[in-house]
Assembly symmetry: C2
Homo-oligomer: 205 residues x 2
């Protein structure tokens, strides 16, 4: 087991999570300032909510739901991150997540580029990232072989891999997105980024 203070940071997120996107745009740079790497774990919030009894926070109808739609946008402006409210929200993300894990098995840098491209496709360019075609298109632009990825998206191996990742996230206590774990300490929400930074700086406070 790595020493406390040098192990990778775990970053759990769903590709349809606006706050996950905000965290994704910042977490690697924050970690790097303290010599730390980040392990990204795309998961499926629908499964997490069902297993944990939690409910999706942003229904868009209740006072809280309407507030959250506005807060996604305002928080993005506050953090200096481009954001256009997507017309499809929330939406299923298993194709994007399976593609991520398949790419990660071959080239982790490429998988990271792909994750950023998927998030920006949804939250900047308003593309339907639930569609396999969109996922293939985004990957192809990064030089990924379409036929190989098409096969991977349907393979039992990648379906199992994603299922195992979601199970592992539940075991780690993940209940939402983004959920970041630093040396056993959990931080939920993009708004916990300043606390994560202070934790990394001081080793706990």
């Amino acid at each position: 087991m790595p020493d406390s203070g040098t192990a990778p940071i775990d970053f759990y997120f769903d590709f349809s999570s606006p706050y996950g996107y905000l965290m994704a745009e910042k977490i690697d740079a924050v970690a790097a300032r303290y010599g730390r790497k980040v392990k990204w774990h795309p998961i499926l919030l629908g499964v997490i909510f069902q297993a944990s009894g939690a409910r999706p926070p942003a229904d868009g109808i209740s006072s809280k739901g309407k507030y959250m739609l506005a807060d996604f946008h305002r928080s993005a402006r506050y953090m200096g991150i481009p954001y256009n409210p997507p017309s499809r929200f929330p939406l299923p993300t298993q194709n994007a997540a399976r593609a991520y894990y398949w790419l990660h098995g071959q080239d982790c840098g490429l998988a990271r580029q792909f994750a950023h491209a998927i998030y920006r496709a949804l939250f900047v360019d308003d593309l339907d990232i639930s569609s396999p075609d969109t996922v293939l298109e985004i990957a192809a632009k990064l030089g990924v072989d379409r036929d190989a990825l098409t096969a991977a998206l349907q393979s039992p191996e990648m379906k199992n891999r994603l299922r195992e990742e979601v199970d592992q996230a539940l075991k780690a206590g993940v209940f939402g997105s983004p959920h970041v774990i630093v040396d056993g300490e959990a931080f939920f929400g993009a708004d916990r980024l300043p606390q994560i930074e202070k934790w990394l700086e001081t080793g706990g406070f």
Copy 2:
């Protein structure tokens, strides 16, 4: 109607809300830096949750509930505010809220001191602020007449006043605590304090 940019900031909170306490310790000073006053509105979250269909976020049992208990404490440390996890939580706060409105009718500065004293009694000294005796004791230390306050806590006027304040909060879209409204813009959670400050500084971003 006051001009935008000079009207008081509305601060809605429940006396049993840990994040409400954290906001209460900071909001007046932040507002004052931009020449703004804050109007405090103690409300009853139980009524708000029932009316809005929301659920109390911190059950202490689920992964999320356990996380929140830890996050209350860590957020207090992060903000430099003393915090001892209360042994009674959550607890009813109608006596404290009625006392607040009664005191406010007489001396708004005294009401503010009382609100701080109630919050610190719960979140620093672990006192049972649901009890009328504790509320009377805390008020008496600030020079308030016990008999007059005892009568006020049971008066139809103060019961109505609190009911009206909660109704008004619901109409204003309040769904939790703390909930701060600056010139029509809502901010939910103690973690939105930096956004509130930037909003006050820039007039919106």
